[in-house]
């Protein structure tokens, strides 16, 4: 992974180290002088841990997801898509008496609505290009249309079947030609791999219809506080997973993974921003550590482009650079995994 070049770093990470120290201090009373009172307070203020702990464990969440997975006639288990978000509503903290957390939940509801609105508008541009058979316009619109989806992916797990319908990959089916393979990546395959959109129109129609279902269902969603804390972490886990953005598995035909990557990061950052007022009170060091890691990560991503200027093909991200990104993501994920407990959520 790290070579000499790989050791170079791009942002300040002192705060991350402080967070690690704080974690250790909590763990073992390390002699580092870090004030751990805030952590202690948050421990004290949290209610007794019930059986429904807010575990962010992917395996637990996945197992739960599998339990209520509907198997279709062909036996395809659609929700096992590699890109599925691991959150399930029952698994996360349900309630909070902290008004600041409630404010964040309310704020997130607005954010989700905004993103869904953008998603529908940008996907219409994409779908129109597909229906017109305009390959270049389709290529331009594809990564753009996916950004809002990637920002709010934590809520995908809360809406039945949606992830498998719009964001599954060919691995979940009998190859890319399987008619049950639908959504963005199906059209991505037609566009980049086949270079032919003749048969893609119905899939564009279907994508729009599925996103309308998402929009309709999202309005009725009862967002639990734990969706925010676990969601912020899951978005980063999603990037770092072996079948996530870091490996280049997600957008394998187009190489546009960095758009998804950045959107996942933005979605996580949006959640942290919403939780910042309450985290500022509960554990300011953790907030500093998280924000510092985001700064570092965004600095690393800037090297590869921007939404405005476009991102490089993911093949151009070297192994060393992926290692650097992985290291920052790892530190960030460790910090984000403390959000839920730090805010006293179960």
């Amino acid at each position: 992974m790290g070579t000499k070049g790989g050791r170079r770093r791009l942002g300040a990470r002192a705060a991350v180290v402080v967070a690690v120290l704080a974690l250790l201090a909590t763990a073992c009373g390390g002699d580092d002088g870090v004030d751990v009172n805030s952590v202690e307070e948050s421990d004290a203020s949290s209610s007794a841990s019930g059986s429904e702990s807010g575990s962010a464990s992917g395996s637990e969440a996945d197992a739960a997801a599998e339990d209520d997975t509907a198997t279709d006639e062909e036996g395809d288990v659609e929700e096992e898509s590699g890109s599925a978000s691991g959150i399930s509503e029952e698994e996360v903290a349900q309630t909070t008496e902290n008004p600041l957390i409630q404010d964040a939940v309310d704020g997130y509801r607005v954010y989700v609505q905004e993103q869904i609105s953008d998603m529908q508008a940008e996907t219409k541009v994409f779908a129109d290009a597909v229906r017109d058979g305009d390959i270049e316009a389709t290529k331009a619109a594809y990564p753009v249309s996916r950004r809002p989806w990637e920002r709010i992916e934590p809520i995908a797990g809360l809406i039945e079947d949606i992830d498998g319908a719009v964001d599954a990959r060919e691995d979940d089916f009998d190859g890319p030609e399987d008619p049950n393979f639908t959504g963005w990546h199906k059209i991505e395959w037609y566009t980049w791999d086949q270079g032919d959109l003749t048969e893609a129109g119905p899939f564009a129609d279907q994508l729009e219809a599925d996103l309308q279902t998402l929009a309709d269902t999202a309005e009725t969603l009862d967002l639990a506080p734990g969706v925010l804390t676990v969601g912020a972490q899951e978005l980063i886990e999603e990037v770092a997973a072996p079948d996530g953005k870091l490996s280049g598995e997600e957008d394998r035909y187009s190489g546009t993974d960095l758009y998804d990557f950045k959107a996942n990061v933005e979605g996580s950052e949006a959640l942290v921003d919403l939780l910042a007022p309450v985290l500022e009170e509960a554990d300011p060091e953790l907030l500093t550590a998280v924000e510092s890691s985001f700064d570092e990560l965004n600095g690393q991503l800037e090297v590869f482009g921007s939404f405005e200027a476009g991102y490089v093909h993911y093949d151009e991200v070297t192994e060393d650079q992926r290692g650097e990104l992985a290291a920052t993501l790892g530190g960030l994920a460790e910090s984000l995994s403390l959000l839920n407990g730090a805010l006293g959520l179960e």
Binding site: S49, G323, A327, G341
Partner: protein, 409 residues
């Protein structure tokens, strides 16, 4: 909760220092009404862990263990201050781990601090952790060039090293874990990695094992290597302080960097063995290449493993490694290796071999001198080094000090 954990931690840490060798001090300490601090060192049953603090890093001289792991890691830090923090965190992580103390039981809204692999509370697992500094730690990033141990260098290429690749070699740090089970080794590494995540990045790692003989006695090999031969027969006696001082520990006059006193140089070599080829080789040829009888471990022509070999020529592996000639005693090294088996390669050949680990007072007189004698040996046909590195194992932090502190003073 925290203050209690902190108090207990510091108490046990103090006990580790005061107790020196904690190994074996647990059996009779359970009967007291007020717990003896030393009994806190090892929670549950099982062999005690090796303390991190003391005169030397205890893992260097810990007996051969049945499970192990060696990793080279790179540090991500922007300044010497950040490096100091990272090393301090690493030291605390190791200290908590080998203390055997349960990790703090946090509220269920947090992920647990202990991965739980060893159960809660954890059992003693004979775990030791050795930290080494690579030459690259002393490059221009942290302003530590002046503190570099006199003999530390990036591992050069030796005669048979054409498969050695940078990506599976070197590193700013090495971490070497030994324990009595694969789970304990994995547990130790996972705890350390999670607590330093983002700051320490694994560059390469290799897990290994040893099938130990029931009773380890000096002069007999604790295990066989994957060539089927006893390995470690004439290893140094770690209970002999004079031998250790002569061959393993850096002395006060060895280096102008005084912080190195009590440390040791570590050489790691991941050496693949061409086991298919070896298994097709006549026994006489095998024994001639090694210089010992396979079954007994005795030097060729002799009866017992402990017999002193008499060399007619310096062709066999053991003759080249240690010719027992006048002056060659200064080339003695302490070996602490593990066997490894990592599946198979692209040509369907088994990837198996030895994680060679040696400790020596001088790299030049120790590993390098031995390796220069081995360069060109007939056994090379059957082995291919793949990676590894040279590191300096510092003395443990003094009581109340953090790992790495002397580097920054």
């Amino acid at each position: 909760m925290i203050s209690e954990s902190r108090r207990r931690f510091m108490k046990s840490a103090g006990a580790l220092v005061a107790g020196g060798a904690v190994v074996g001090c647990t059996a009779d300490s359970g009967s007291e009404a007020i717990p003896d601090p030393e009994s806190d060192v090892v929670a549950g049953s099982g062999p005690p862990n090796f303390p991190f603090r003391g005169n030397h890093q205890a893992g260097v001289t810990a007996p051969a263990a049945s499970s192990g792991l060696v990793a080279g890691l790179d540090v991500r830090a922007a300044s010497s201050e950040e490096l100091a923090d990272v090393l301090g965190t690493l030291g605390q992580s190791i200290e908590q781990l080998v203390s055997g103390e349960p990790y703090e039981d946090r509220d269920g809204g947090f992920p647990p601090l202990d991965t739980g692999i060893l159960g809660t509370p954890p059992v003693g697992t004979g775990t030791s952790v050795v930290v080494g500094y690579g030459a690259s730690l002393f490059d221009d990033r942290f302003g530590l060039a002046g503190q570099k141990p006199a003999e530390l260098l990036e591992m050069p290429k030796f005669a048979n090293d054409f498969l050695v690749q940078p990506e599976r070699s070197h590193g700013d740090l090495s971490i070497t874990i030994s324990s009595d089970s694969g789970e304990a080794t994995v547990h130790a590494f996972r705890q350390i990695m999670r607590e330093t995540r983002g700051a320490l990045v694994p560059r390469w790692m290799k897990e290994g094992f040893n099938q130990l003989v029931p009773e380890q006695t000096h002069g007999r090999a604790p295990a066989r290597n994957l060539l089927g031969f006893k390995d470690g027969t004439s290893n140094l006696d770690t209970d002999d302080d004079e031998t250790m001082a002569a061959s393993v520990w850096v002395g006060p006059d060895d280096d102008q960097s005084q912080w190195t006193t009590g440390g040791t140089y570590q050489a790691v070599r991941v050496i693949r063995m061409m086991v298919e080829f070896w298994d097709r080789t006549r026994l006489n040829e095998q024994e001639g290449l090694i210089g010992r009888h396979r079954a007994s471990g005795a030097p060729l022509g002799l009866d017992d493993e402990t017999d002193e070999p008499v060399f007619e020529d310096l062709e066999s592996h053991i003759a080249r490694a240690n010719p027992r000639s006048s002056g060659s005693e200064k080339n003695l090294i302490l070996r602490r290796g593990f066997n490894y088996a990592s599946g198979f390669d692209a040509n369907d050949q088994l990837d198996q071999g030895l994680i060679f680990v040696s400790y020596q007072r001088s790299l030049e007189d120790g590993f390098i001198a031995v390796q220069r004698r081995l360069d060109g040996e007939a056994l090379e046909e059957y082995v291919r080094p793949l990676g590894g590195g040279f590191f300096f194992v510092p003395p443990p932090p003094a009581d109340g000090a953090a790992l790495g502190e002397p580097l920054f003073s």
